[in-house]
């Protein structure tokens, strides 16, 4: 039997996450953090699909599930798929929330057996950051640096001028022209 491409993708996610997780269990904090960050994106995507009527609860439930995974990580058996283990915890937390909320809560497909947890990703913030970085790369230095410093890192114009060695007016002009250039890139004019 041949696996579909989506199976392949899930499989590699499973392998990668599992490796980080197992290294985390052995005490590797960096690998563990990588695992939690990636898992967080998957959880958010997964929960968003299942709690459509309750958008306010999603982030709370993401956090609660992360804490649950963290505090019960010693119940993972290295012989079982990580997907199934995490999925069972996430589902337990969803069902628990719904029991508390009562029948008014609307949910779609909470009781799915087929796990597509690692198939869903929602790292909007991280993805947006990457997109912005990619766009900024297309600007010349004298526009990119002022934008990065003043708009992304939150420095003042004076501080940016000191950090880059540009004059304050050059910084202001750079930000202004740079943002205009970005806008036209986004509109697809360049």
């Amino acid at each position: 039997m041949t696996r579909t491409s989506s199976d392949d993708r899930n499989w590699t996610v499973e392998e990668r996450l599992r490796e980080h997780f197992v290294r985390g269990l052995a005490g590797d904090g960096t690998a563990y953090e990588t695992f939690l960050r990636e898992l967080c994106g998957h959880l958010r995507g997964y929960l968003r699909k299942r709690l459509m009527g309750m958008p306010d609860d999603i982030e709370d439930l993401v956090q609660e599930t992360l804490i649950a995974v963290h505090s019960r990580r010693d119940t993972y058996d290295s012989g079982q798929p990580l997907t199934a283990w995490v999925h069972a915890i996430a589902r337990y937390k969803v069902v628990d929330l719904l029991r508390v909320r009562g029948p008014r809560a609307r949910v779609t497909e909470v009781f799915d057996e087929e796990s597509d947890l690692f198939g869903s990703v929602d790292n909007e913030a991280a993805l947006a950051k990457r997109d912005v970085a990619r766009l900024l790369e297309r600007l010349p230095e004298r526009q990119r640096l002022p934008i990065v410093h003043t708009r992304l890192e939150g420095l003042s114009v004076a501080e940016t001028a000191r950090a880059t060695g540009m004059s304050e007016s050059a910084v202001k002009v750079g930000v202004h022209r740079g943002l205009k250039a970005l806008a036209s890139i986004i509109r697809g004019e360049r």
């Binding site: 005490g27 960096t30 953090e33 992360l66 649950a68 963290h70 019960r72 010693d74 119940t75």
Partner: protein, 213 residues
């Protein structure tokens, strides 16, 4: 708190995890619970005085092995139910084997006995206290099993509670067998089963309330 900060905090305090959490947790719970139950049995009920001669009879061992087998199977189930997404597999079905064996022995015994003796075989001298004492002795083990389960990660709380209850009932009945001097399979298959069933049902009922995490 923002999720990013939460992750950073979780990762910072993580450290290495000791392996075999489930086994260690249950080892502690069963050890202390079993110790307490044995103490209660020895102090308040007393070990049967004819233990030496009784130990030569096969029925004495059947009375230990039957609840012991249910205890062991329940423990295997509890260990699985303590891990998210761990399939129960064939283990749940194995539970009926000790029951079938004992009920078959009871049937042979009752059919082979004269009509007049059947009631005595079934009721013995202590049918009215046996389930109560088994439940009593299972109580400390029940507490231990729930304590262990709650710290682990059960996701099916009714089943997890029932498994904890049968762990307690099975071991409690095993310990009670050192006191009880009934020697018929019919008695074992009836009153011991009821005695083990009480903590099992209590476990199933209390699971959703007590095991939530």
């Amino acid at each position: 708190m923002k999720t990013d900060d939460l992750i950073a905090r979780l990762a910072r305090g993580a450290g290495a995890v000791e392996p075999n959490a489930v086994a260690r947790r249950y080892g502690t719970a069963i050890g202390w619970g079993g110790f307490a139950a044995t103490l209660v049995m020895a102090l308040f009920l007393g070990v049967r005085p004819d233990l030496r001669s009784a130990a030569l009879l096969p029925m004495f061992w059947v009375k230990l092995v039957f609840p012991g087998a249910l205890f062991a199977i329940a423990l295997a189930l509890a260990a699985r139910l303590a891990r998210p997404a761990m399939p129960l597999g064939i283990v749940a079905r194995v539970l009926v084997i000790p029951l079938i064996v004992v009920w078959a022995m009871a049937a042979v015994e009752l059919i082979g006995a004269p009509q007049a003796d059947r009631a005595a075989l079934l009721l013995g001298q202590s049918w009215n206290v046996c389930p109560f004492y088994i439940t009593l002795l299972s109580a400390p083990i029940f507490v231990g099993a729930f304590w262990a389960m709650k710290r682990l990660a059960p996701t099916q709380l009714v089943r997890a509670g029932a498994a904890c209850g049968l762990v307690a009932g099975g071991l409690g009945a095993c310990i009670y067998a050192l006191h009880c001097d009934e020697m018929s399979a019919a008695f074992l298959g009836t009153w011991y089963v009821i005695g083990m069933l009480i903590p099992t049902i209590a476990g199933a009922a209390l699971g959703p309330k007590l095991l939530r995490w």
